[in-house]
């Protein structure tokens, strides 16, 4: 007991020392990704991207007259809004973060925005939240996202499917904001384009067995199965079962399903399946992939580019505003992200800081060709991917 007491006392002293330290020299930025949960395999490259941008700014001398930056990770889960809110609350009260990159999934992002970012007045930029609902959410101008709304993805997916000559597809979606939102916008766009949806059925994540779901989808028929789900969760379970029973062999994969784990799980069994994930054409996109490789992670992973850009944009906005205050920094985000100004690509954050310090204007392009539209979301470029010989290949942009 004595040891325990002295240990806690020491810890309290250390913690308060660290807390005091955080206010003098370093600016802390929260990086909240879904490190556990249905998208856990996608989270590490996004967080690594954000931290890559942060380190780059540190190497260039920091922001606000040489203040160094520090990233603090928090687990946003993906499905548990209460856990995400608590983690964000902790980042603010105990770590004293000045801005938050995240959260990853739409539901948790909305919860963190309403319960934590807005009441505390900090800037929040999500690399990956796509739910159409976030466009209308009350944010006091503090929230931005580098992912386009799924209303747009639904249209793009419908277009791609029609161009490949499919007119009848079945849809299964994960039963949450993301799944229902995207499935709905896709259905509207696909039917407007003259296609038929044979069945749009939800599935629950985390089940051991999807034979019943696949059974009804197979019975409804269709030339391909659109799987609006998560690659670490029910989405892969559905594909596995559909392959096992021979119900479908072509799958359409939206952003939650595009991950290299597909290659590992299914390989060439799903050759010919295709999909899209948000990513605009960028003449210097390879710069970032090389940077990521040097830093030891996969820069082509879904939203890894947006992770870098979210952090970069946040830090540039803070230095343009000359303050870490959420509202002041937020007022700079749009003009930094869009033309006019000198184009800034990934790896040029030092140059950008210099231009800003000299009072110049920049157009941040970054790794993912950032272009923001009102109310603070990406305009919606998509990269088309296809499974060929067991590998996930990029085949174009739209």
């Amino acid at each position: 007991m004595k040891k325990f007491l002295s240990a806690t006392a020491m810890y309290a002293v250390l913690a308060s020392a660290a807390f005091a330290g955080s206010h003098s020299e370093t600016v802390k930025i929260g990086v909240m990704m879904a490190f556990t949960g249905p998208l856990e395999s996608l989270a590490p490259p996004i967080a690594a991207g954000a931290e890559l941008a942060l380190n780059e700014v540190n190497e260039a001398g920091g922001i606000l007259d040489g203040k160094m930056l520090e990233a603090v990770r928090g687990d946003g889960t993906c499905t548990d809004a209460a856990a995400a809110t608590a983690a964000a609350e902790r980042l603010i009260t105990s770590d004293g973060i000045a801005g938050l990159v995240g959260a990853m999934c739409s539901g948790t992002t909305g919860a963190v925005l309403t319960n934590v970012a807005v009441p505390n007045g900090i800037l929040q930029i999500s690399p990956s939240a796509t739910s159409p609902g976030l466009s209308d959410q009350e944010d006091n101008g503090l929230f931005f996202r580098l992912a386009p709304s799924d209303a747009r993805q639904g249209e793009v997916m419908a277009e791609i499917i029609r161009e490949r000559g499919f007119s009848e597809v079945a849809v299964t979606y994960t039963n949450n904001d993301y799944g229902a939102g995207l499935a709905g916008s896709f259905q509207a766009a696909f039917e407007a384009a003259g296609g038929t949806i044979t069945l749009s059925a939800s599935h629950e994540d985390g089940k051991a067995d999807y034979s019943a779901e696949v059974g009804s989808l197979a019975s409804a028929g269709g030339e391909a199965l659109v799987v609006v789900g998560y690659v670490d969760q029910g989405g892969s379970g559905i594909i596995q079962n559909a392959l096992d029973t021979g119900a479908f062999d072509t799958f359409v994969l939206p952003d939650g399903m595009v991950g290299t784990i597909l290659e590992e799980n299914f390989g060439s069994d799903i050759d010919g399946s295709f999909g899209q994930n948000p990513s605009a054409e960028n003449e210097r996109g390879d710069d970032y992939i090389a940077m990521a490789e040097a830093a030891g992670f996969d820069g082509t992973s879904v939203y890894a580019k947006e992770g870098y850009d979210s952090m970069a944009l946040m830090l540039l906005a803070m230095s343009a505003a000359g303050s870490t205050n959420g509202a002041e920094a937020a007022s700079k985000v749009m003009e930094l992200a869009n033309a006019p100004g000198e184009k800034i690509y990934a790896g040029e954050l030092g140059k950008a800081l210099e231009i800003i310090a000299n009072g110049g204007d920049i157009d941040y392009v970054g790794a993912s060709a950032v272009e923001l539209i009102e109310p603070g979301e990406a305009s919606g470029g998509y990269m088309e991917v296809e499974m060929k010989d067991g590998k996930l290949m990029q085949i174009g942009f739209r």
Binding site: G206, E213, G215, S216, A218, A220, G221, D244, G246
Partner: protein
Amino acid sequence: MEFLNAFVALSNFVLVPAIAYGSQLALGALGVTLIYGILRFSNFAHGDTMAFGAMCTILVTWLLQGWGVSLGPLPTALLALPFGILGAAALVLVTDRAVYRFYRAQKVKPVILVIVSMGVMFIYNGLTRFIIGPDDQRFADGERFIISARDFKSMTGLDEGLAIKTSQGITVITAVITVALLFWFLNRTRTGKSMRAYSDNEDLALLSGINPERVVMYTWLIVAALATIAGTLYGLDKSFKPFTYFQLLLPIFAAAIVGGLGSPLGAIAGGFVIAFSEVTITYAWKKVVTYLMPEALEPDGLLQLLGTDYKFAVSFVILVIVLLFRPTGLFKGKSV
């Protein structure tokens, strides 16, 4: 041809999965029913005993895989099964010593034992998650299919494919062997007979010199074996995730009660009744009916009685109906 296609589609999506699922439920329900018959309480910890046994099997499987041991086309897990059973047996015997024996000595009412078993369930629950974590684990290896849908189509030239997974085949064969062994044990051996005697009339059994602690120990050993086999087969066929075993508790109890608690034969019948009702009621019959009907009568709708989300509700409804109209179950077990 049309008829064959209909039959193959039905087999692929209904018969084969339901038979495999039914076997898994039957093995689970046998364990529940034995506990109910001999120890006289509903063991809520059964689902998590399955999870624990399956987890032990998985850990040994990984070890064997690490050593490069394999069974060729069969999953290595079969080789690891005896070790899993040992692990589960040790766990339930220790639990019995530490927990159940205390309450048995006091001759508490069955309902108290039920609540106690719930506490045990939460402990097992935590134990499994503590050791292997809450996530999905893959441990299946060997040949994936006995026959795959694509091969079946090219072999027969039919439009519909029929896939039979190795795990489904193994499930059915293992279940048949296990059940045969169990019935032989209960009906032919001295220990089995003493267990049945103890189940039928405790006082008479005690008077005729049967040692109750021995009967209890054998019961737990058999239950541990059944639970581990059921848990491993379910994990092989679907996937291993601790939470799904907790969810399995409902269909397993439904199976045991529908068949008649305390009746081993009933548990097996109940397992298949529940499995087939779950699958057929949530299956969309459109495809099968389209093959059978003339073109003019082809259905537009899906012909699905209940959405797949309601799968677990089906076992609930059957449970309620049986309890209302035939509380002793199909095979005249003990009334609940």
